[in-house]
């Protein structure tokens, strides 16, 4: 596996959500790729796979997971990995991604992206799990930075240093969720631009854009709002740094008609193009 690399790709995409299945099946949707939630299609058959096969005929597909639990101290679920691999063999995706988090321990699943302490021990665990998954799936992974609502006192390094070490040791790539940087930056009081300066930009292969909700005291990563101004500004900074790269709007709740998301994606195109011109100048 360690020999494999993922080349940089440009383009603009959307997440495939049930509300938009009919749009993708009956219209030309102007996207360069589609991202699926892997777990929604890790099923035996029926309509989900029927839709997926039809969409795959029209668009390249990226697989994005929420249940690998790459930070679990007791390792990965072999049944999950087998099903994920079977789906990847069916889809032949651009890449497979999941989150820097843990969701389950001792077989008990929270179905949430739970936070890790950023310690050497946790780094060893995540590196071991990422390497195992990459070997099993026979492909490198993209790991996404999470939103988080708590910090552990025992953390000895920043999230961006943790991700830097992870990429170096495990050979994985990054899915940079710019919204999540904004959310965690506000919640934990760090400078999101310092975060951008700290992550290994040469390992970024995909960008997520989304909008959070205002909680009582903190921002919550609900992905149910339009992309807010601070996230667009951060995206501009990423484009200035590394230039055009696969970017998508990730909307999970309160999903608007697809044309609204396509308009939002046009805004990303404009920023990417403008920053690209600035880089070239």
């Amino acid at each position: 596996m360690s020999e494999q690399t993922i080349p940089r790709m440009q383009g603009f995409g959307l997440g495939l959500r049930p509300k938009h299945y009919n749009d993708f099946l009956t219209r030309e949707i102007a996207v360069d790729f589609v991202e699926i939630i892997s777990e929604n299609f890790m099923v035996a058959g029926g309509r989900p796979l029927h839709v997926l096969d039809a969409v795959r005929e029209r668009h390249p597909v990226a697989m994005h997971g929420v249940s690998m639990s790459i930070g679990s101290a007791d390792g990965l679920d072999p049944d999950y990995l087998r099903r994920l691999k079977a789906l990847a063999e069916r889809v032949r995706p651009m890449w497979v991604s999941d989150h820097l988090c843990w969701t389950a321990i001792d077989g008990k699943n929270s179905h949430d992206l739970l936070p890790l302490p950023y310690t050497e021990e946790a780094l060893d665990v995540v590196c071991r799990n990422v390497k195992f998954a990459q070997d099993f799936l026979e492909r490198p992974l993209l790991i996404e930075n999470p939103s988080s609502y708590v910090r552990f006192s025992e953390s000895t390094m920043s999230e961006w240093r943790f991700l830097t070490e992870l990429c170096a040791r495990a050979g994985c790539y990054l899915l940079l969720d710019v919204n999540n940087i904004h959310v965690s930056g506000v919640n934990h009081g760090f400078d999101p631009y310092a975060y951008l300066a700290g992550v290994p930009m040469d390992r970024v292969r995909q960008i997520h854009l989304a909008g959070p909700s205002e909680g009582e005291e903190i921002l919550i990563d609900t992905h149910d709002h339009d992309v807010p101004a601070p996230v667009w500004a951060l995206y501009g900074a990423v484009m200035e740094s590394i230039g055009p790269i696969a970017t998508m709007i990730e909307r999970d709740e309160d999903i608007p008609p697809i044309d609204a998301l396509l308009s939002e994606l046009d805004a990303a195109r404009r920023i990417s193009k403008a920053k690209g011109l600035e880089r070239a100048a």
Binding site: G45, G46, W102, D112, L114, V150, S153, E216
Partner: protein, 258 residues
């Protein structure tokens, strides 16, 4: 404390049990930990509300949410997919609401329809009754999404009314043995109520009993010709409904254990 111990402790905190997690968080993380704890319970509740939408409508918010609370308190999610979380909810309703058997039967129907939705594919056989030269030894392979359960109430009529957003009928107990038969026809989950004779015939056929023997076992006082005519009509319906993936003359090793 190791990462393993921390994660176990965090899970305890999510479930509302006493944990040492707050002491390990910057500023005790009260607001943040509350977000995770609330999300855990809401996610499980929303999953059950979505999966058992009609049972929820039938029972009403108070009774349904009370049943959900009991279920969440006594059932951890043990699967990587939230889709599996409601697998014991119908049984929990049966024991928690013994005076409302229609609720458990309605919940089972919703669960079976949900399972059928993304169950394994198997194209229906193109054979017709006329293609079958040897009925006596014929064996049947059913759609992998087929599920059966005996019922005692008019839960099917309640489901149908709720699906059409009509006022559901009151609970009625069935006078004759009956069962629900759930499967997926092409891409659409389907169900129908079958009587006791067809329920028995289906169970025998699923158990790989040859058609001739099924006829003898369900004859119940009918003549041989009468039983064959009755079962032939049933098989015609199975074919029409897309319940059958294959029909094979005996012996056929491919059908062993089907």
């Amino acid at each position: 404390m190791t990462l393993l111990a921390l994660q176990r402790d965090f899970c305890s905190a999510l479930s509302g049990r006493t944990s040492g997690i707050p002491r390990r968080l910057v500023d005790e993380g009260e607001a943040g930990l509350k977000v995770y704890k609330n999300a855990y319970r809401l996610r499980l509740r929303d999953c059950l509300r979505e999966t058992f939408e009609k049972t929820w409508a039938w029972l009403g918010d108070a009774a349904f949410d009370a049943a959900v609370d009991r279920y969440i308190d006594s059932h951890e999610s043990r699967s990587w997919t939230l889709d599996d979380y409601g697998d014991r909810f119908a049984d929990a309703l049966a024991s928690g609401l013994p005076n409302a058997p229609e609720a458990a039967e309605l919940a089972w129907l919703e669960w079976a329809m949900r399972r059928a939705f993304d169950g394994a594919d198997a194209p229906a056989t193109r054979k017709t009754e006329a293609d079958l030269a040897d009925w006596e030894s014929a064996k049947f392979k059913f759609a992998p999404t087929l599920q059966l359960r005996s019922v005692t109430t008019n839960c099917a009529a309640i489901w149908a009314a709720l699906a059409e957003e009509k006022t559901p009928p009151g609970v009625e107990f069935l006078y004759s043995p009956a069962a629900l038969c759930v499967w997926r026809k092409e891409l659409s989950p389907s169900f129908r109520t079958v009587d006791g004779v067809e329920f028995l015939a289906l169970r025998l056929a699923i158990a790989n009993v040859p058609f001739g023997e099924v006829c003898r076992l369900v004859a119940d006082g009918r003549s041989r010709e009468g039983a064959i005519a009755l079962l032939g009509k049933m098989v015609g319906r199975w074919l029409q409904d897309g319940l059958l993936a294959a029909i094979s003359p005996e012996p056929d090793s491919a059908f062993a254990g089907s």
